[in-house]
Each structure stands twice: as C-alpha cells, then as structure tokens.
Amino acid sequence: MLLHDLLFRLRSLMRRPAAENELDDELRFHLERQTDKYVRSGMSEPEALRRARLEFGGLDQVKDECREARGVSFVETLMQDLHYTSRTLLHAPAFTACAVLTLALGIGANTAIFSVVNRVLLNPLPYPNPQELLAARQNESLPNLKDMQRQTHSFASSGGVNIAPMDFTGNGEPVRVHAAWVDAGLLVTLGVQPMLGRWISADEDVKGGARNVVLSYPFWRDFLGGDPHVLGRGIRLSDKTYTVIGVMPRNFTLPKELADVFISLWAGYPEAAPERGVHFMHTYWRLKPGVPLGQAQTEIAQADHRLAEEFPDTERERGTVLMPLHEWLVGDVRPALLILFGAVGLVLLIACANFAMLLMARALTRQRELMIRASLGARNGRLIRQRLTESTLLALVGGAAGLMAAKAGTTLLLALKPAELRRLDAIPMDARVFLFVFAISLLTGLLFGLLPAWSASRGDMAEALRENARTTATGVSRSPFRSLLVTAELALALILLAGAGLLIKGFLHLRSVDPGFNPANVITMYLQLPGTRYPQIPLQTNFRRELLARINSFPGVEAAMITDLPLAGNYVDHRVAIDGQPAPAVGAEPEVQTLSVMGNYFGVMQIALRTGRDFSAMDREGEPRVAIVNQAFVQQLLPGQDPIGIRIDWARSNPHEWMTIIGVAGDVKHSGLNQPVDPAVYAPFSQNDEAWRKWMTLVIRTRVPVAGLVEDVKKQVWSLDSQIPVSGIQSMDDLLAVSVAQQRFNVLLLASFAALAVALAGVGIYGMVAYRVNERTHEIGVYIALGAQQRDVLRLVMKDGVKLGLLGIVLGLAGAIALTRAMVSLLFEVNPTDPATLIGVALLLAAVAMLACYIPARRALSIHPMTALRRE
C-alpha cells in the first residue's frame, strides 16, 4: 500500500510533462462533454461553454488539487519556485550580490572557526579506545613510574616519554633530531603498532639493554630514503650506533610531543634512567575497561603517599593529577577557541539580521507584484513558501561562497601559526564541516526568511497596498521588526567590540611588558656537545671558549652563550642552599632556575646589572666560584639583606663548594611575558661541575644585520667539530613574537570579527535610514517646501536611526558586561569590565552609527520639493 503510494508518486514525478498533458486532456474532455450536453439541450454554444466552466470551478485550482492528489505537488511547486526565484534573483543582481556577500562573510567566518574547533576539539584522538587514555599533569621519573605501575591496579598499562635533542650524523651535514626517550609501556598504552618491525620490548628496556631505535615515518622517509630493508641497519645518534628495529606508521604522532626517533630511556640516557629525582617524563595511562577515573585517581594518590614516605628527599611534594588525555591536550586552547566560536556566531547573527532586512526591503519594493499575485488567487501559504525558497536559495549560495571564504580563511589561520595550532599542518574540511555549513545555511535561510516573509504576508500587504495607493507618508513600514533587527545588530556588534577592545588592551599590556633584555639585533643558535667526545668539563670549556673567541673576532659582532634562552621554554631547576641560613627540611629547599653563561652575556643581551659586578675573564676554572642572581632571588630568598658576598650552593652538595654572589641582574621574563619571574642563578660555564650541561645557546649581537653571519658561525662550529649540528637559528625578536603568538592570534581574530560586525551593523543601520529617506521623499519635499531648515530635515530622518543605535549600544553594554567575564582567562592585566574600554568602544560604535545615519540622511537634504511631489 505504502509502496504503491510511493511508486505512484515517483512515477508521476518522473513523467511529469506527460502527466501534465494527460491532466489537460482529461479535463478538456470533461468540459467538452458537458458543453456538448448543454448544446444538445438547446443552449447556444457560448452559453453552454460558460455554464460548463462555471459548474466546473477554477480550472487552475482543480489542476493544482489534482497535482496535490497525485503527490507531486510538493516537489513540483518547489521546482516552479526555484525556477521563478532564480530568474527574479538574476534580475536583481545588486540585491542578490549584497545578500550572498553578507551571508558568505558570516558563514565563511563561522566555517573557518568551526573547522579549527572541529579539528582541535571535536576530532577523536588517533588511538584506539581514546576514552580510556589519561595523562598525568606532572612529569615523572622512570623509577617512580615503575613503582606506580606496580602499586596500582586500575590501569591496563602506562608509559612515559621525554623528548631530548640528539645528533644524527653519518648522512651529510649533522642534524639535530628529536629523540623520544621512552619506556616499553608507551606504545602499548597508546595502542599503536609499528608499521615495520617491532616496538621496544620490556626485556630490552632495562639497564644495559640493547641500543635499539624505532623510527618515525618522516625520519625513515627523509633520512633513510624509505629503505624497506632498514630493519637491522645501524644509525649514528649522538656518537653511538643504534640498531633500527621498527618504523612507526605514517600518521602516528605522540599525543603532545614531536619525535623523530624512539629509544629506550635506558639506552639513550642511562645516567638519568635510575634517578628518582629526575622528573622529566610525560606519562600516559590507559584505564582498564570500565574502571572509573575517580578510582584510578585514588590509587595514584595512595601510590604518591607511599613514595613520599619512602623517598622524602625527592618525593615529598607529590600530588599526581590524572586527567583524560583529550582534556589535557586541548585544555589550553579550549577557552580561546570557544570564545572565538561564540564571537563568530554573533557575527553570523548580525549578518543574518542584515539579510532579513534586505529581504524585507525587497519584499516592500515588490509588493505590487505580490499583491497582484495574491489578488489573482495565489494562496498566502504559497507566497510565503516562494519567499522562503528565495531566502533559502540565497542562503545556500551564500553558504557555498562562505565555504570558499572559509577555505581561504583556514589557510590564513595556519599562516598566523599560533603556538597551539603549530602542530596542525592542515585544517581539513571534512564531512562534519560540510554538514555544518549546510545546516547553518539552511537554518539561516529558513529562519531569517520566515520572519520577514511572515511579517510581509497578506495581512500587511493589504495595508501596504492602501498606503502605496495614496502615498501618505505617515508610518509607512515603521516595522517594529526592522527596528528590532537594527537594535539587536548594534547590541551584538558592541559586545564583539568590547571583547576585541579588552583583548587588544590586554595584548598591548603584554607587549609593553619589559622582557628584561633588548631583543633587537640578537641572533641565537643552539648547539649540543656529544657526550662521547666531550665527556669532561675541561674539554667542553675549551670548545666553548675557542668558539666564542672565533665568533668575537668577526667585525661588528659580540657573542656570548647561555644554557637556556629566556622565552624558549626551558631551564634547569636546582634546589638551593644559602650559607649561614638554617637548612630547610630535605625536599623543602627553595627551587631556582640555574643558568650557565660564558662571555659577556649580560652585555650582549643588555640585561641591566642592578648592583655588584659582572663576571670577568678571571672568573674561570680554578678561581673562587661566583654567581650572579636576579632581583627575584634577592626579594624572595634574601629579603632585606645585601646579597653581595652571600654564599650559595645547590642543596645537599657534600661538601659544599660555595659560590659567592658578586652581582644582581635585572629580572628577565624567562617563562613568558605573562608569567611571574622566578628566582634565578647565573654561574660561569667554566666553573660548572655538572658535565651533563653539554648544551649551549649562542647569543650574538650585531650592530647592524650582518649578511652571512649564520653561515660563518656554522663554519666556525664545524671547523672545531664537523659532527655538531647547529639548530634553533632564530632572532630574539622572533622568539619574543612566538612567545605571544597565541595572544596575537586571539587578538587578530577577535578584532577582525569585531570589525566585520561593526561594518555589517553600520551597513544595517545605513540601509534602514536610506530606505526611510527614500520612502519619505514626498514628506521631506513638503517639509522643505514649507521652509524646514537643513537641521530639521536631518533631525527628521536621522532621529529613528540614532535612537535605535543608542538603544542598541546601551543593550550591548549590558550584554558585554555580562559576557566578557567569560574571557577572563584570555585577558592579561585587564578587568573584563574595564570601564575605559567599554566606554571607548561604545563611543566608537556610536560614531559609526551616526555616520551610517548621516550619509543617507544627507541625501534627504538634496531633495528638491518639486521632484519629490512629482514622484507621486
């Protein structure tokens, strides 16, 4: 039955033209027979025809009902409407272009942001059963990880990883690669198998285990030519040979880390592997199926407690927090992305409001046509439907254009390279993005087409007809709906402006933070000495001293070196003891950043020396040990004391080899411009007693940019040791810029959304005033003829626009105060209800609104009374 129905409808649809002809034939036959009948009963032919038609009823209506009865009417009407709509739209190119462009901007911006949200927040992790995966917020040492694994039962497996630089040699220029020092449990936990060969097994992952390496796909492809027989081959990493046992799949990445090669921590860094206090591994945990996070967390807390009791000197301050891996990965970006998504949603709403107003204006200009069609018997529903078809068609075309805009937009987003998106090489447009575009386009078309269509349907039409017939100027189309849209637009635009204003202010604060050094004209490069050839400190010192001497002999150049640069994200932490102060409990000693330097580091970086003296060439091996501390060190650890002459050392050294503080350096924003400064100790490389400090970062200040400097420095490095890769070549300016890239990204996006919103709202209010001027030409003409001054005319036509604008701004301010609170995590030293910003953006928007009213209003001034009257 149902099937028959469906097939019948389908058949009717397929053979529509034929069916249409048949219907004509059938009805014509009926009329002929009926006419025949009357003629035979003695009527004249015209009279008979008239009578037959009368009895039959409206032919077109009957046809319509037959089509409806055959079930083709819906699709058929749609086709008709589509045909009609596309024809009329093509006849109004300006209107069509405006509508499509407006929606393309709104939908495009939304789609671009949605693609990012989709990729970053919504895409599942590329591991099987990702909901079972957890990450520990704190780093862990390998012995702790093993103990925790043994003492807990909630986990199917767990693993840890630390990323460290290694030098890959034997393949042309030495290259610095990212090595993942792992334990055997890591891949088991992530649930991924190597593409070739096998993963590191548990019995290799022990002291003295085989030196094996698993390669990442890109490393295998780029450096080993994708050799299919690579298994068993030896490669040189940091002067040792590792045997390749596996290659990872192409799309495999660690959750957060970038890695080229995977090596057991025991093989790669056997010195650190047994050290309980070396908390440097990210750990990942896989829950047994069905085990709740809470239970796992409780077990981990118990393990923490046992470890703290057993190893108080390193494990006193434990507090491991496990969180779902996805949350751990996106936690930092989520608020920013959601706020941007919300902001771009507001932009779309504004675009939609403009779209609705365009549709309304068009409806009014076409009201005669619609009236005629209505009076010819077109049903109200049909007229509304036709206009819905129009708005939906426009919205879908706008959506398609928006999709293209979004494609360009995401490319732009990637080019901005904010820190969190840096790992994304592409933002793909997947089915979800297409569905999103389609859904919002359809919704936009239906919803924002329905409101004006409904408000202009027959009810209003009669009124419009009356008004149009005798152009009385009072109250023409003072549609409350239009006023509502304009007010809402301005309110939304103000909210966006307020958000952007606050972000900009915060960003300016951030940029005006003094980093503590002068980044201009400083180039930096990273080097690491291979432990095999530079095992002892004197060898390392000789290399450093010789390299610096050679670079400093270049004209116009001054070079120095430090272990870790400010803003680069790394430093070595040590617990510190102060001579003469009672030693705090073991494990509770203050922690400080420890930085080794050589050369005139403070001079090259132009870090101010507050008191005391700088290091000199005399502060070298064999001489009394010296140190320079920063101001934060003095404030936090030596409050109220003269730091010069006070002796410090790393806690628990035995015996202490005290370093005397000889100076205090200005604070440097080491961890980020928006981060507090931690206490720091600078000490000469040459007096260093930790042979594992094998790395260094060159800082080279030039008076003017020196062409070829980087190449010259590399040559000097390789003339000293051809096996040392030079990496991390960047200027301090770049480093500074990268450190605020995320904030700049937020600012740029929100500011461009706000600009878009203001432009759209401006166009909205402009359109309304222009429309009213046009509509009241006659009234204004009379007004001018009666001797109205320019001022009066302006007041007349601008009054409504300005009133609505101000209302919108006031409402927007209230909305902004309510909503900007959500931005608090994105703002740097700005109150989310910062009055100066709110007032500023309100004035800015008011100015834009005034201008948008004034431009069309000025046209009213040029109305000539006679022309206006003649327009009747």
Partner: protein, 110 residues
C-alpha cells in the same frame, strides 16, 4: 432550484466514485453524470472536485486509469476498480450502512 441539490457530506465522494466504478469502467464525466442520474439529481457533485478525488483514489491503488475511446469517439481517460478498490468498497459500504442505520434509528426513536 439549488435547494433541490444536496451537497455531499465530507468523505462520501470517494465511496460514491468507487460504487459507480464497481459496475463498469467509466471516464470522469460519465462518473459525475452517473452519480447525478442515479441519485435522481438529488446529489450534486461539484464537478471540479471529482478529479482530485479520482487522482487520489488512483494514488491509493483503489482504481486504475487507462486511456480509451469514449462513446463519442474521443480519447478519454477511463477509470476502473482494482481488487484493492473492491475490498475497500465493501468496507466503506459496510461502514456507511452501519452509520446510516444507526443515525436513522436515533432519528426515529429519539
């Protein structure tokens, strides 16, 4: 004169069409003529509403249409009852008789 006619109650048109077609295949005009004749011109079928009803019945599979030649040698669309239509007619007829019987009983006794 119009008072002689009774407008069809809602929904009865389908029943009348099915009944009319149960005797022989007819084209639309003949159906309307037949209904008026048989009802001695008491029932008036709005001719325009006949065709949507025919098409609806066709869609439901109760009648089927084919093109044939009319008594005056013209091409005309003839409708005939299908098996499903015959069953439907019985059901409808039965229901109608029950309804009218009940209604007249009430009218007579109440």
């Amino acid at each position: 004169m119009p008072s002689r006619f009774i407008d069809l109650p809602q929904g009865t048109l389908d029943l009348l069409i099915l009944r009319t077609l149960s005797l022989e295949p007819l084209h639309g005009w003949a159906v309307s003529e037949r209904i008026q004749q048989i009802s001695s011109d008491v029932l008036r079928v709005q001719q325009g509403s006949l065709y949507p009803a025919l098409h609806r019945l066709e869609r439901r599979g109760w009648i089927k249409a084919r093109w044939g030649t009319s008594e005056n040698n013209r091409k005309a669309k003839f409708y005939e009852l299908t098996k499903a239509g015959r069953r439907e007619l019985e059901i409808e007829q039965d229901a109608w008789q029950k309804l009218t019987a009940a209604v007249s009983q009430i009218l007579e006794t109440a």
